[in-house]
């Protein structure tokens, strides 16, 4: 026993002796970092130069064009343009609202055990996903040719042309089409929640509705929100198709301006810029919404961009420690 211990004991004391002498040489965080010559990635330099060259030639090409760049800031906050922006936002929000509400209803119908409701939901989705939204908009717009009146019995009766305004055409066309897509997104979300969750809730005596509302939907939201954010951004851009039904949204208002000002291409650039502003704002909103529904799904929530910036600033302010 003692014979075994003696040889083991010696190296231990050696390490202890070496310890204090070695510490000042290495940073306090750990052993000495490896000093090696990094691999040179020449391919990266070449591709960067090529990409920058192409970008520069593109910028040069546009600089050569006879473009009145000044017209864009001049008209950016023009009343007509702002009206178009407002209408685009309104139609996007309302059509999305129809899409989400009807989409949830359709998703629940499709998942229900009732074969009739499930088949109807399936048929709706099949039809509205199977036809281009542009065609749907034109159909709504031209229905006046086959219907003279709208007659909802005692509730409402009017001439079709005064009932089906461009706004209503755009709203129905975009909203009903969206519902088909939202239905599939919601269905995927509801189905993604583990069955054990429903069982646990039922075992506690919760009803079907309560289980859906309190347990399943909040968890499904984590799956539903990201694609829905995409859908909102898509909707914002697709709303430009409402030009076809005479609805004065952003694109149409820029075209109106370009007819009076003669700056056609510039006004298209302006429209593009406005769309980018709006989609950027939506992306920020989506980030925070996703962060909210992520609670509990990971150990800690991801930082907000603001927190990230603050963390970077703080780490930059600190000297990068260690003797190295």
């Amino acid at each position: 026993m003692t014979g075994d211990r003696a040889p083991k004991g010696t190296p231990v004391t050696d390490i202890k002796k070496a310890g204090p002498a070695a510490t000042p040489l290495t940073p306090p965080t750990g052993p000495e970092a490896i000093q090696a010559i990094p691999v040179r990635h020449y391919g990266r330099y070449v591709s960067a130069v090529v990409a920058l060259g192409l970008l520069a030639s593109l910028v040069y090409a546009f600089a050569q064009g006879d473009i009145n760049w000044g017209a864009i800031p001049d008209y950016f906050f023009d009343d007509q343009i702002l009206e178009g922006v407002k209408n685009t936002v309104v139609i996007t929000v309302l059509a999305m609202l129809i899409g989400v509400v009807l989409g949830i209803v359709l998703a629940v119908m499709r998942l229900s055990k009732n074969p009739v409701t499930s088949a109807i939901a399936w048929g709706y989705i099949w039809f509205f996903r199977g036809t281009p939204v542009y065609v749907q908009l034109l159909v709504w717009f031209n229905l006046g040719i086959v219907f003279e009146y709208i007659n909802l019995g005692p509730i409402y009766k009017d001439e079709w042309s005064s009932f089906m305004t461009p706004f209503l055409c755009a709203l129905l066309g975009l909203g009903l089409n969206e519902a088909a897509y939202m239905a599939e997104i919601c269905r995927a979300g509801l189905q993604s929640v583990d069955e054990g969750q429903t069982e646990a809730a039922h075992a506690l005596g919760m009803s079907h509705n309560k289980t859906l509302r309190r347990i399943v939907v909040p968890q499904a939201m984590r799956v539903i929100v990201p694609p829905t954010g995409n859908e909102v951004i898509n909707m914002l851009k697709t709303s430009s198709l409402a030009v076809a039904v005479q609805y004065t949204e952003l694109l149409r208002s820029t075209q109106n301006v370009s007819q009076t000002s003669g700056a056609t291409v510039e006004m298209l650039f302006l429209a593009a810029a406005w769309y980018m502003v709006l989609t950027s704002l939506l992306s920020i909103g989506q980030y925070y919404l996703e962060r909210y529904y992520a609670r509990g799904s990971s150990r800690s929530l991801p930082d907000t961009p603001f927190q990230k910036i603050r963390a970077t600033m703080l780490s930059l302010g600190r000297p990068k420690g260690g003797a190295a």
Binding site: A200, L204, Q219
Partner: protein, 253 residues
């Protein structure tokens, strides 16, 4: 004294698969009743029949003198409405192998959820009880943690507290320690032992033979959908009569 759980010739099949082939057993009030057996023997399925998560195909199954899932009038059986089934489930707590805590709620919210949503209890009352229960399972300092921030053993103890919050008269445990690291099993079993000492009626599907021997009042060995052997845990575990029981125990002990 009526049995807390009484099964007479209970059959259950999933399509062509015949899982339970006539189960007869009785669980007395305040008893810790252990179900053991190889996987696929139907013990978990039987447990799930007790609170009607699975519908039985034949036989009679009753809890505290009332049929599970049906109402009998004369010689006719009427299926219970979902709301009536839910009402009965309030009195039966269940703990799952994979915990099934609600991941979007903190530990204390998990425990408060059912009393508030099902019994319509006020938040203050539910919170007070939840704090007491979390303290009882030794997790009062984890009340504000989400399930993903807890270890498996801690999650399972929260799940037990969640079931107890409904003040059930019967607790069902479906392999509560099978998904846990070995060193975390003890904490969960301690909580269950405490429950048993307080006189809770418990039906426990388990592979923890030590727990069954120490805490169990009755034990049933199931295989291939039938009860092979039953009796006091000490007798069955130390002196099994059937060959099948002997060979199973020789592998797990």
């Amino acid at each position: 004294m009526t049995a807390m759980v009484k099964a007479e010739g209970v059959h259950k099949s999933f399509g062509p698969a015949h899982i339970l082939k006539g189960i007869d057993l009785e669980v007395a009030p305040r008893e810790v009743f252990c179900l053991i057996g190889p996987s696929g023997s139907g013990k978990s399925t039987f447990l799930r029949c007790i609170n009607h998560l699975e519908k039985i195909n034949a036989g009679r199954l009753s809890v505290d003198g009332e049929l599970v899932g049906y109402r009998q009038k004369g010689d006719k059986l009427y299926e219970l409405k979902d709301s009536e089934v839910a009402l009965k489930r309030r009195d039966i707590g269940m703990v799952f192998q994979r915990f099934n805590l609600f991941p979007h709620m903190t530990a204390i919210e998990n425990v408060m959820e059912a009393p508030i949503q099902v019994k319509g209890e006020s938040k203050a009352v539910a919170r007070a009880r939840a704090e007491r229960l979390l303290d009882r399972v030794g997790l009062s300092d984890k009340a504000k943690n989400y399930p993903s921030q807890l270890s498996g053993g801690q999650q399972q103890r929260v799940a037990i507290a969640r079931a107890l919050a409904m003040e059930p008269k019967l607790m069902l445990f479906d392999e509560p320690t099978s998904a846990l690291d070995p060193e975390l099993v003890g904490d969960v079993l301690d909580v269950m032992r405490g429950l048993a000492e307080d006189g809770m009626t418990m039906v426990v599907v388990t592979h923890e033979m030590g727990f069954a021997r120490e805490v169990g009042d009755a034990l049933v060995f199931m295989d291939d959908g039938v009860v092979v052997e039953s009796g006091h845990p000490r007798d069955v575990l130390t002196n099994p009569q059937h060959e099948r029981t002997k060979s199973f125990l020789s592998k797990v002990l």
